[in-house]
Symmetry: C2
Subunit: 190 residues, 2 copies
DNA sequence: TGACTAACCAAACAAGTGTTTGTTTAATCA
DNA sequence: TGATTAAACAAACACTTGTTTGGTTAGTCA
């Protein structure tokens, strides 16, 4: 009466692959790397997934699902538009630097790396970025502000954190998100 | 009396490699791709460069030299700190989206892709990013503004443009740089 | 003219790639 | 118990990878 054994190995496989894709990138991770990490032979992976590309696609889908839910959960209880943006930016930084490997893969692996599923991967990324559209649209801004470009700036600032964030020593993701939000919000010219 | 023939082929080779690295990425570009693009056999490349890694390093160095000079030239004649920042951001966007393949490689290929020269590539990137440090430091800002994080936000916003910039249809790099700068400068809360 | 060299070709090399095939083991279920 | 199936192994396959080696050609220079 323990039919979960089946899924457990499948989960371990996808988890190990996500960890490697997130830390080494897609092209630099071989099926042999993955098989070694999960403790099976290279060919055995193909019982669970038809190809390396499909494996990544599955990780991407899980990752986007997680990040969208996490972001929604962080924003939902808040009312003030600026509070909501801050919570969103914090969740963004968290997903990119700390959270599960699934979410980190989304920002590490570019859709270009998998021509076969490029459009799907782009669409998945868009689903996440779209969440910021409403966050920005709800801000009480002067009419001349370019909300589209503001959203792109916010997303860019968050994505970039992957390259400089340091888990120990520097600030926590929540602190970074808060400070980013304050930069956007406050008048910063004298 | 035409000893430049030698360098001309060398330049064509590095140029072709830069074009491919910028558009396809480092791992996805093979020496055979490069050799085909420049019109020689794969092995012939090794007369000019000792390895693929060294080829990338040379491109990186040229790219950083170009972008730093371009940025300096764009900023140098200006005096007002905000004008200088705007010129810098425009140059950044230009280098990432349009300019020579050399500069685009810097933002497309991550140092992680070349473990052998990772530290050198990171150092080269830093040389570029350092230029923004002085641009941000010279801004007349309220004392509570986190200049370090502001610089990271600006760099992130620029780097991100690679993923959404459209040469035709959308705005020109200069227009984007100007609007980005205005977003940073103006108070955007009501 | 003859030695020298820059620049390349032609062909292979060893290692690594994603993937497939046939087989085995262990658990499930009638 | 016996048939069935999930899940993996063992071994190879066809191909691509960066790179090396030895030879060839054309131009330079004393």
């Amino acid at each position: 009466m323990k039919p979960q054994r089946a899924n457990s190995r499948n989960d371990a496989l996808i988890e190990a692959a996500a960890e490697l894709f997130a830390s080494q990138g897609y092209k630099s991770t071989s099926m042999r790397d993955i098989s070694k990490a999960v403790g099976m032979l290279p060919g055995s992976i193909y019982y669970h997934f038809p190809s390396k590309d499909d494996l990544l696609l599955a990780i991407y889908e899980s990752g986007v699902e997680r990040i969208t839910e996490t972001l929604e959960a962080a924003v939902e209880p808040l009312v003030d538009p600026w509070d909501r943006l801050q919570a969103g930016m914090s969740a963004h930084i968290r997903a990119i630097t700390q959270e599960s490997a699934y979410t980190r893969v989304i920002f590490r692996v570019e859709p270009d790396d998998v021509p076969k599923y490029k459009s799907q991967l782009v669409a998945l990324r868009d689903r996440f970025e779209a969440q910021f559209k409403s966050l920005v649209d709800d801000l009480p801004l002067a009419p001349w502000v370019d909300r589209h470009l503001l959203r792109l700036m916010i997303l860019g600032a968050g994505n970039h954190a992957r390259l400089w964030f340091s888990p120990d020593g520097g600030n926590a993701p929540e602190e970074i998100g808060a400070r980013f939000c304050r930069l956007v919000r406050d008048s910063i010219c004298n």
